[in-house]
């Protein structure tokens, strides 16, 4: 695999009156993790959404392997996974169905593989129940299964440990650690630090 890097040059973004991203600049190599911290409303989510090309910055560029991601967005998207504040699940489908449709759109998915991932995140016991009957943390776990099933080079995670119990928090740590060990990259927005398991982390603090 070619050496991969994510580089961000001097991003500027306004939201309404507010100058949210004021010249964000960093670069990230294989096997490393970027921890974005900052007060509520400092722009973590906005930055993540800008990184994955959902929002166009008014200034600055996002470079993937040295070239502007806008050149070929869908190729870039194919190599990243984004988890936002809310798990993107249909409450009228079961976890299994949800993953089948959500991830099936991206990659060919075996039933066994799917169940293995659900097992991995401890979602196996309730994988055949409608998501609407699941607890907040159980939904989050189902969403985490997506990470186990998408070993793409770049993960963008927005407060991945929300609603998770102690053991769930460790699980997130393991998943990230494996991704890094695999040579992947992780950008995660967190308030109270990443789980212990995660090594070689660089920090980026967005002053509010």
């Amino acid at each position: 695999m070619p050496d991969q890097t994510l580089a961000v040059e001097n991003l500027h973004l306004w939201r309404g009156e507010r100058h949210v991203l004021r010249g964000v600049t960093f670069s990230l190599g294989r096997g490393t993790c970027l921890e974005i911290s900052g007060a509520n409303g400092s722009g973590k989510t906005t930055l993540l959404r800008t990184l994955c090309g959902l929002i166009y910055p008014e200034e600055g560029r996002v470079l993937w392997n040295g070239e502007d991601v806008r050149e070929d967005l869908s190729a870039f998207h194919a190599s990243l996974a984004y988890l936002g504040h809310e798990p993107p699940l249909k409450s009228d489908l079961t976890p299994t169905e949800n993953l089948h449709y959500w991830l099936g759109v991206r990659r060919l998915l075996g039933k066994g593989e799917l169940l293995a991932a659900l097992e991995r995140v401890g979602a196996r016991p309730f994988c055949e129940r409608l998501v609407r009957t699941l607890s907040a943390g159980q939904r989050r776990r189902v969403a985490l299964a997506a990470l186990a099933l998408l070993p793409v080079p770049l993960w963008l995670l927005d407060e991945p440990t929300t609603n998770l119990d102690v053991q769930g928090r460790e699980l997130v740590g393991e998943l990230i650690a494996e991704q890094l060990a695999r040579g992947g990259m992780v950008v995660a927005a967190v308030h109270h630090g990443l789980p212990e398991a995660v090594r070689n982390v660089t920090r980026l603090d967005l002053a509010a």
Binding site: W14, R15, G16, E17, H19, Y56
Partner: protein
């Protein structure tokens, strides 16, 4: 290349100042043309041999109708440019067009209806030309409604631009409706390839009105454009100069 050119032209301060400077050069000629056209249409032009003085409505109807189409086309083109090259000023142009176009579409509908009663014996008929012009009005309204519905200017720009571009299919329908379907409505008598079928005494006032309305549109556009450009600029030093006078 186009890209750089657009961006130089698209620089807001440049546009703002240019618009301010150009406005009078369109406004006054427009006033002159319209005045002359009115005089010509109401007084000099002869009554039609069959329509009598009713034909004088032509001098306000055709220009309004023509405006309704031209303004929409301008709007759609500007919107497309804004969408493709992400140029704020283009969006500003599109946004400025909508209210102007809507009002002239309204005028075209009303004057047409007022002409229809004596000529066709009815104010309104569900005829292709008439219907499609009404659709045009609704398109303008939809465009403005969509803009009103979205707070964030940038999203409003881009969303309404998509609508404007989609709606442009209606323009040829309006224009050719009379030739495609057997319509009550007049076939094109001026806007057509071969030489127009009208005596100069009728043609001249009509052309004056057309020219006058077009100039007026440009003038109105330039005025509104300045406002829209200002609304899209944040924390730019040049704003202080231009507004604090």
């Amino acid at each position: 290349m186009a890209w750089t050119w657009f961006h130089r032209f698209g620089s807001p301060p440049h546009v703002y100042r240019l618009a301010a400077r150009l406005t009078p050069w369109f406004a006054w000629p427009a006033a002159l043309c319209i005045a002359a056209g009115l005089w010509g249409g109401l007084v000099l032009a002869p009554p039609d041999y069959q329509q009598g003085d009713g034909v004088r409505i032509l001098y306000v109807h055709a220009p309004s109708a023509w405006m309704s189409l031209m303004v929409y086309t301008t709007m759609a083109v500007a919107a497309a440019i804004g969408l493709i090259w992400r140029i704020k000023v283009a969006h500003a142009v599109a946004a400025s067009c909508a209210p102007i176009g809507a009002s002239f579409t309204f005028a075209a509908l009303v004057t047409g209806a007022l002409w229809g009663e004596p000529m066709w014996g009815t104010y309104w008929e569900w005829d292709p030309r008439l219907t499609s012009e009404l659709v045009l009005l609704f398109l303008y309204l939809g465009y403005m409604g969509l803009r009103a519905g979205i707070e964030d200017t940038q999203r409003a720009d881009r969303a309404s631009a998509v609508l404007a571009v989609v709606g442009v299919v209606n323009v040829p329908i309006i224009h050719y409706s009379v030739t495609w379907w057997n319509s009550l409505h007049q076939a094109p008598s001026v806007m057509r390839m071969d030489k127009p079928a009208m005596p100069p005494s009728m043609l001249l006032p009509l052309l004056l009105m057309l020219l006058g309305f077009t100039l007026l549109f440009v003038a109105l556009l330039l005025v509104r454009l300045r406002g829209e450009v200002l609304a899209r600029e944040r924390a730019a030093s040049w704003i202080r100069e231009v507004v604090s006078v």
